[in-house]
Amino acid sequence: MITSRRLIAAFAATALLSSCASDAPQDTWKPAGENAQMIHDLQWPIFLVAGIVGVIVLAFIALIVVKFRDRGQAMPEQSHGKAWLEYLFIAIPAVILTTIAIPTVGVVMALADTDDTECIINVTGQQWWWEYDYPVSADGTICGFTPSVADASPIITSGQVVIPTGTKVLLRGTSRDVIHSYWIPRLNGKRDMVPGRVHYLRLQSETPGIYAGQCTEFCGLSHANMRMETIALEPADFQRWLDNELEPYAAPVDGSLAAEGEATYIAQCARCHQVNGLVDDRGTDDPSDDSLVVSYPDQFVYSGAAPNLTNLMGRNTFAGATYDLLTDECRADVWEADPSEFGDLYLEGVTEDCLNEIELREWLRNSPAKKPMYADPEMLTETDGKTRGMPYLALSEDQIDQLIAYLLERK
């Protein structure tokens, strides 16, 4: 008796505490955009109705348990059925369910509407990160914005999707390997991303900031490490972000550590990761020798893709938004920034002082140890020797130094 009372108390306390958690970035009760607001406006009256029904039912049960408990009284008169009561008990739920169904269907339809889209972004899930690409429209705009460079090519990024505030964004999603599910609780419900199919998800945010989410369809070993963030920027800031993404490749200064990093990158990483515009000069000064470095991850990675690292330091998390590229202090500055200052802080990207070097080094030293990925070469028979995720590369500490210097300039 005492143990079960304690158990109930523990449950109640947990429920109470979790309901008032303050640092809960994935809280469905804090909608931050039109779509999530629609869901929210629907869910709280339904919870209310369900709660009232629940309380009434429990109260009745309690009443009956107490009032009619066995006190040794005589057996009461037995009767069979009471038609009017049965009809009533059918009618009441029918009325409640119909009342709930009408607005629910309305919201479902509204959330599936794609006619009012102002910006289209493609999202592709794979074990265990999300890739985004921003298609160029027929009129040369990207996401409704005109890039300052002419003939812009599509932008590719991963982990964090950047959207302009106050804009009706449509994510067009699919998957390269297994079924994943995209969910940013504060911006909309979830949507499964299925190989071979393209599904839609509307996103919209009114306030600049970071909105966290995670994959919600079990997709393998590192499912729990498959996270994503939506970054909402004021339109002017979004334009800056866009232009920065499209800037041509800037090679490191000759003789610098980063320049050594570029060579190491070409040797070790470029077969999987694309850095747009990177040119391999093959160690000669002869420009006719130069060749564009093109990755071919389909030969090494099971899903056929690896994150584009062109602007790695322009985002502030990595490896499926699981690890921070920013130190705790700098991270807090950005994540807790006032909406009016958020854009500037985010667009600063990762500076040398703010780089969370420890975790990035650990990643380069042994990524499968940082994120379970079946990268054990012994276990790759099923995938033809291809890894799920990034393999262990046996880099030296010197190589890692060079790579960090090189990656720091990628923004």
Partner: protein, 378 residues
Amino acid sequence: MFTTGSKLLIGSSVLALLATLLFGIFDGGLLGSVALISATVALSVLAGINVFTRDANVGSDETESFGGAAAASGRPGASMWPFTIGLAATTITLGLVTYTAIFVLGLILLMAGLVEWLVQAWSERASAETGHNSEVRARMLHPAEMPAGAAIGLGVVIYAFSRVMLGLPSKTSTIVAFSVVAMIVLAIGSLIGSRRTISAPAMTGGFAIAAVVLVSGGAVAGLNGEREIEEHNTTAYYAAKDQCGAEEISADEHASQTVAGKASSAAEIFLTESGTIEFQMPGDSSRRSDALQLPRSNPNNLLMRNESSEPRRFVIDLAEGYEGSPPRMCTQIIEEGGVQLLTVEFAVPSFAPEVEAVGGYRFTVPGVESASLEVVVP
């Protein structure tokens, strides 16, 4: 001690073992080894059985013990289980050198034989009444024997039936045979159903004949092999031979002009009346003709529609130099107003030198000069 019979069997076992060893050391041929090992195992099993059963007999000179000897208290019934166990031992040995499946089959046989024999031997001593004894045995073993027997019977029927079906010379004859058999089953069923009584021998006989016909039919058909199943070349075969032209090829026969999965495709592509190619992306209501953007390393399902007034096909050249995807792909001929699904995967981005060298990715339509659509793979 041991009876003469046991001694004979033990001696033979030892001899077989010796022969096995000698053969193994001096010759080592696989078949011979298998035969000798099998013989050793089988003889040892028989010797063991003899020691544990017949050796319980009293000696022939101890006349006064005759009445109390185990063998005197009613003869044991005929039993197929020692034979089964011998068969199991051979199967296990055979399985050790051939396939695991045979080994496992032997183990199952061994288990079944041991349990059956154990229960039979025990039930025969249960009481002095033979009828009661067999009832005891049945009550114990029928719950296992019935379902197992049914499963095996059903398996044999299904397997034999499938062999017959696959062995028949054509699809039509298969359909006819199936219908005839179904009709016969129905007729017999209704005959049995309409009769008040039917004699047991008639039933048993009927079923026995059916079983024999089915199993022998299955065996014959199985030995004959399956009928030849025609194989058609796909468009990929012709694409590889550079034959995705405007004219019809054998891969175009019976080409489907409708597609079941019309929703959630990566894009819809149209050959228009005026001979241009347009596309429409999901979530975007406008039709465009500039450049279609598709993700890399992703099986893109494309709906290819022909709105022109001629039967046409779409062709796309993919970059060479990587595994998996063919360098050229094409649809079957699409009738006027028809639609087909094409799944295209681009492993290399369109800015790669080898793709730029051939002018980028591009959908074209043989026979329609003006039809060309650029595909951008970022």
